[in-house]
Amino acid sequence: AQSVTQLDSHVSVSEGTPVLLRCNYSSSYSPSLFWYVQHPNKGLQLLLKYTSAATLVKGINGFEAEFKKSETSFHLTKPSAHMSDAAEYFCVVRGLSGGSYIPTFGRGTSLIVHP
């Protein structure tokens, strides 16, 4: 079985300050991990993915995430928030279940950016 826990349902930052969105996972299989972003009333867009290569993964729009196996974490960071970063962010773990690939989503973190 696999699961994803996003530790904060809401994160509020000021424009220009760092962003940290936290994600812990559990998986009995060496997982692939992803972050997706969803802007209001829009679909989901891939920010970045980890698939057992480099543990520090760089994504689009200045986001990056670090895979830490010992902590079972995959936190998303950005050095300086922009107003356009305000959105819902989902951490996803993809593992194997019964021979099939099953992506499991966290409940999401709403990022609020203040001017």
Binding site: F34, L44, L46, F90, Y101, I102, F105
Partner: protein
């Protein structure tokens, strides 16, 4: 962008009526998924398919059925819609290790 489309994009129906949502892909990918999105719950897996006529249940499959008779189409059916099935439904396909999503289908059951 991955070639994945959902129809209808919006639907309002009444309790007890059947509803079918369609997901169509042009990428020839093996895996297809149906999720529902509700506030505070993220996306929850309803059913998935790993090939033609090969489907399995996800964590919230009660009240839903699926069919995949062709690689490109994955249908989600609510046999008798209930108000608890009011939600936004997303179809996804798995490409080279990552998911690509449709635009979503907003279903309201009155």
């Amino acid at each position: 962008d991955a070639g994945i489309t959902q129809s209808p994009r919006h639907k309002v129906t009444e309790t007890g009526t059947p509803v079918t949502l369609r997901c169509h892909q042009t990428e020839n990918h093996r895996y297809m998924y149906w999720y529902r999105q509700d506030p505070g719950h993220g996306l929850r897996l309803i059913h998935y398919s790993y090939g033609v006529k090969d489907t399995d249940k996800g964590e919230v499959s009660d009240g839903y059925s699926v069919s995949r008779s062709k690689t490109e189409d994955f249908l989600l059916t609510l046999e008798s819609a209930t108000s608890s099935q009011t939600s936004v439904y997303f179809c996804a396909i798995m490409g080279t290790g990552e998911l690509f999503f449709g635009e979503g289908s907003r279903l309201t059951v009155l």
